[in-house]
């Protein structure tokens, strides 16, 4: 079980990670979700021992890892651009970690075949890695990391280089494999779809801090900041002024809502306008239709005031509409 306590790291004078603490339980997959440059890859490399934090410590089963060099940590790492050894074939790539553990040839042979089977690459043993497609290369990289049975698997944007269809396919395989092997995993990505698909728990990283944490459903239902709501694409984030009781005044109209935090009259508040029509709600947004965009089974309707909403039926452009909608208080 991995624990991080108060990891701090700055890079060229700029703070990159500010006081990061987290925990990964056995068999759990966590996703570190954040924009590029938020320091998530650096955090992975610190856990792997390839980089050092300025302060804070890393524990594995309550044992401090700070003096353990990377090759003794037993943490598998999968990179975005695969980082397969170009001078070795598929078999030798997957066998690399086993050779480093000084397994005998017989056992290496068996384990490589087994792992390649797990990632659906049976009979690829003697292929050159440079001849493989992107998806195949990523599977070899996964097999290479899985083969030595690491205590922890870490993924650094592993699907970033794949096209959309392939990404979905590999993502589903990955999900199955992680479930089957029960290896605890840390998955770093900037793509919320990937995070929602894979994660038991999501950690949102923003400006070097974990701003939000929870199961995917929890994070979507309770975005913990205006930034989180925007980053996850949960809806329109607008700001308003508290006027009285449960009422908030905004440039899009007045809304009635309950906030968890106590606000007094005149306070500024951030609101999330969920973009789905909800007939039971009392809040209404109004506006002229500026743009209608067909998306699978619904239409994304953008109003002239900038708000958007998903509707079952497409209204005409230029028409005034009013939609009942959920408005929530952020923070």
């Amino acid at each position: 079980m991995l624990e991080l306590h108060n990891i701090i790291k700055s890079y060229e004078g700029q703070p990159l990670l500010k006081n990061i603490s987290l925990k990964v339980d056995s068999g759990e997959t966590i996703c570190l979700l954040g924009a590029s440059g938020s320091g998530k890859s650096t955090l992975l490399r610190i856990i792997a021992g390839l980089e050092f934090s300025d302060s804070g410590f890393i524990l594995w089963d309550s044992i401090d890892l700070s003096s353990t060099p990377p090759h003794l940590r037993d943490f598998g790492l999968v990179f975005q651009d695969y980082a397969l050894f170009p001078h070795l074939d598929v078999f030798e790539n997957v066998a690399f970690g086993l050779k480093m553990k000084n397994w005998n040839r017989q056992k290496i042979q068996e384990r490589v075949v087994e792992t390649l089977g797990l990632v659906n690459l049976s009979n690829f043993e003697n292929r050159k890695v440079t001849d493989l497609s992107g998806g195949e290369q990523q599977r070899v990289a996964l097999a290479r990391a899985l083969a030595p049975r690491p205590q922890l698997l870490m993924f650094d944007e592993p699907l970033g280089a794949l096209d959309r269809a392939l990404r979905e396919e590999v993502l589903n395989e990955l999900r199955l494999i992680l479930h089957r092997t029960q290896v605890p995993a840390i998955y770093v990505t900037h793509d919320q779809e990937e995070a929602f698909t894979l994660a038991d728990r999501i950690l949102l990283l923003h400006n070097g801090e974990i701003v939000c944490e929870g199961t995917p459903a929890h994070v979507v239902a309770n975005p913990c900041s205006a930034w989180a709501a925007k980053f996850l694409g949960l809806g329109n984030v607008i700001n308003g002024l508290k006027i009285e009781g449960l009422k908030v005044k905004t440039e899009y109209g007045r809304f009635t809502l309950t906030c968890k935090h106590k606000h007094s009259k005149g306070d500024k508040v951030n609101l999330l306008v969920r973009p789905h029509e909800a007939r039971s709600e009392s809040n209404v947004i109004r506006g002229k239709v500026a743009d209608v965009n067909f998306q699978q089974n619904q239409f994304k309707v953008t109003l002239e005031n900038g708000l958007y909403v998903y509707l079952k039926n497409a209204p005409q452009i230029g028409r005034k509409i009013a939609v009942k909608i959920a408005v929530e208080c952020l923070e």
């Binding site: 598998g76 690399f96 030595p148």
Partner: protein, 584 residues
């Protein structure tokens, strides 16, 4: 020094900045006649001054009686064995210094890095005589180390420095010359290695030793092999270093060719040795080309700069500091010794057997302007500088005049012209001494004519000139010419406003190349120059081989002049290098 196989370095490098030929680009309306005219002079020149002398060498060798002599076989075998032995040993030593240095440059950031890198590259362009003079000034019997040891141990007999004339002197000078090749090729390869491969290996349980053994070294192997072959080739054909720093019994093929032709007048044996030498360089060049075509290093997707960093822990700092110091010492001391020695009197001069005067002096420089009757020359030594400059200017004019048409024709070659390209590069494969020997054999009667020297220099410089001009000419987009023409420019105005603006830098760069090569050329010049028309390198060699403090001081003064001239030229070439152009 004449550099065979540099053409491969050059072509490899300039391949990178060669512009893609534009679709639909046509050869300008040159008829067959124009093409013939373009090729006539370069090819006639090569035919008369390169191929004809080579053929003469071959025919001279094909005497069965020569081959059957036991003496011949003995000398040939000894020379070949020693040549290979010293080249192999030099290459290993060069790798020992070069590989860690390459790692230093590829992985670490430190103050003065680019300066240090430039410093290590300086010897490669320096004339051999200057390098030899440098080691002599530092470690020779009249050098600084000798003086310092006499100063610090005045009572005991001074420890004699038996460095000059030893095998170690040759090896040291070769390392001095060629380390930059290893540094450039291998550090380039290291910095192009994806750091994630290393990280992946470490996360898979490899300690740093195994990361090196199983990942980094296998990936660098082609580059290391290529660098080694190139270094070996240069060491194999090295002439000046061995003649000037070596001693009796230390005779390579090159030196033996020189000795046999000039000292023993055994031209047929010299020709046989030349032939063997030529075959060997040919084999190594082919090997090198094969190896470089196999160089494919996993390239890092990020920019190269992200791979370098400041040294982190104590061990890294010690490594960086130690190599920094080592390289600085190794490269600065021999070079700085020359100018310092040229203004310092360390021993008795002529006619001062008794008291030894030491101190600063400008005598060595002023002596250069005096024609002493018992001097090595019949003319004031400074004449050598005048000759060198004259020869160099002639070389510039000649090599540009021949190089321009050839280079522009090679930009868009016909099938026949594609064959001509390697033929034009061929003089690089022949050693300078062989070139000189060919001149002696073919044009012995004309040797009294000083014009032969710039002709030989042009042979050596022409491939460099062509390889500098060709990519520049190729980089001119046809669209620019068309645009200028459609805006109303006459053909001359087009050339003036488009072509010349782009070619100016390349032309100057090519001219400087020719100038530098001519200034420093030693092997061929030594064979064909007349004693009353010496060049600077020949004069330095003559001074160094004469006894007496004054002669030695004058050698240092001359070497200082030559060094300053050459370094100025190197700086100009560096400045003119097209942005984005590769190494060398």
């Amino acid at each position: 020094m004449p550099l065979p196989a540099v053409n491969s370095v050059l072509s490899e490098v300039e391949g990178q900045n060669k512009a893609c030929p534009e679709p639909g680009r046509r050869v300008k309306g040159r008829g067959l006649n124009t093409r013939v005219l373009i090729w006539f002079f370069p090819l006639a020149f090569l035919g008369i001054f390169f191929f004809y002398p080579l053929i003469r060498i071959f025919t001279l060798t094909l005497k069965p009686s020569l081959l059957l002599q036991a003496d011949t076989l003995h000398i040939t075998y000894d020379a070949l064995r020693f040549t290979i032995y010293q080249a192999a040993l030099s290459t290993i030593l060069t790798l020992l210094l070069g590989l860690p240095s390459a790692y230093l440059f590829a992985r670490y950031d430190f103050r003065g890095k680019s300066l240090l890198r430039a410093l290590t590259a300086v010897p490669f362009m320096l004339p051999t005589v200057v390098v030899a003079a440098g080691f002599s000034a530092l470690l020779g019997p009249r050098g600084w180390m000798q003086t310092l040891s006499a100063f610090f141990f005045p009572l005991s007999a001074p420890i004699p420095f038996n460095f000059i004339g030893t095998f170690s002197a040759i090896l040291t000078a070769h390392v001095f010359y060629n380390t930059t090749i290893v540094i450039r090729i291998v550090s380039n390869a290291i910095s192009r290695l994806d750091p994630k491969l290393e990280q992946a290996a470490r996360s898979l349980g490899a300690d740093s030793r195994r990361v090196w053994w199983h990942v980094i070294l296998p990936l660098l192997r082609p580059s290391i092999l290529a660098a080694s072959l190139l270094v070996f080739l240069f060491d194999f054909t090295s002439f000046g270093v061995i003649l000037l720093l070596g001693g009796p019994g230390l005779s390579t093929l090159e030196v033996e060719i020189y000795l046999q032709s000039v000292k023993y007048f055994n031209l047929s044996l010299a020709a046989l040795l030349s032939l063997i030498q030529l075959l060997c360089t040919l084999i190594f060049s082919i090997l090198y080309t094969r190896v470089t075509s196999a160089v494919t290093v996993q390239t890092a997707p990020r920019s190269i700069s992200s791979n370098t960093r400041k040294p982190h822990n104590g061990r890294e700092r010690i490594f960086v500091f130690a190599f920094y110091l080592l390289l600085i010492t190794f490269y600065v001391l021999p070079l700085i010794s020359i100018p310092l020695r040229s203004i310092t009197r360390l021993e008795a001069d002529r006619g001062q057997r008794g008291e030894v005067q030491t101190g600063l002096t400008t005598d060595y420089y002023s002596e250069l302007f005096i024609n002493r009757r018992d001097s090595v020359f019949y003319v004031p030594p400074i004449q050598a500088a005048r000759n060198s400059l004259l020869y160099a200017s002639a070389t510039i004019i000649l090599s540009l005049a021949l190089g321009f048409p050839a280079a522009s024709a090679l930009v868009k070659p016909t099938r026949f012209e594609k064959i001509l390209d390697p033929i034009l590069m061929l003089p690089l494969g022949a050693s300078a001494v062989t070139l000189g020997l060919g001149f002696i054999i073919s044009y012995g009667r004309l040797l009294t004519n000083p014009a032969l020297v710039p002709l030989a220099h042009t042979l050596v410089a022409l491939p460099f000139v062509i390889r500098t001009l060709q990519p520049a000419i190729a980089s001119i987009p046809e669209r620019l010419r068309q645009a200028a023409a459609s805006l109303g420019a006459s053909p001359f105005r087009v050339w003036q406003t488009v072509d010349w603006q782009i070619l100016r830098r390349a032309t100057l760069s090519a001219a400087t190349f020719a100038f530098t090569i001519s200034l420093g050329e030693f092997g061929a010049t030594l064979l064909i120059s007349r004693p009353d028309y010496p060049t600077i390198p020949v004069a330095i060699e003559k001074f160094l081989s004469q006894p007496g403090g004054l002669n030695y001081g004058q050698a240092m003064a001359m070497a200082t002049l030559l060094m300053l001239l050459t370094i100025t030229c190197i700086l100009i070439i560096e400045k003119l290098r097209l942005p984005g152009a590769g190494e060398f």
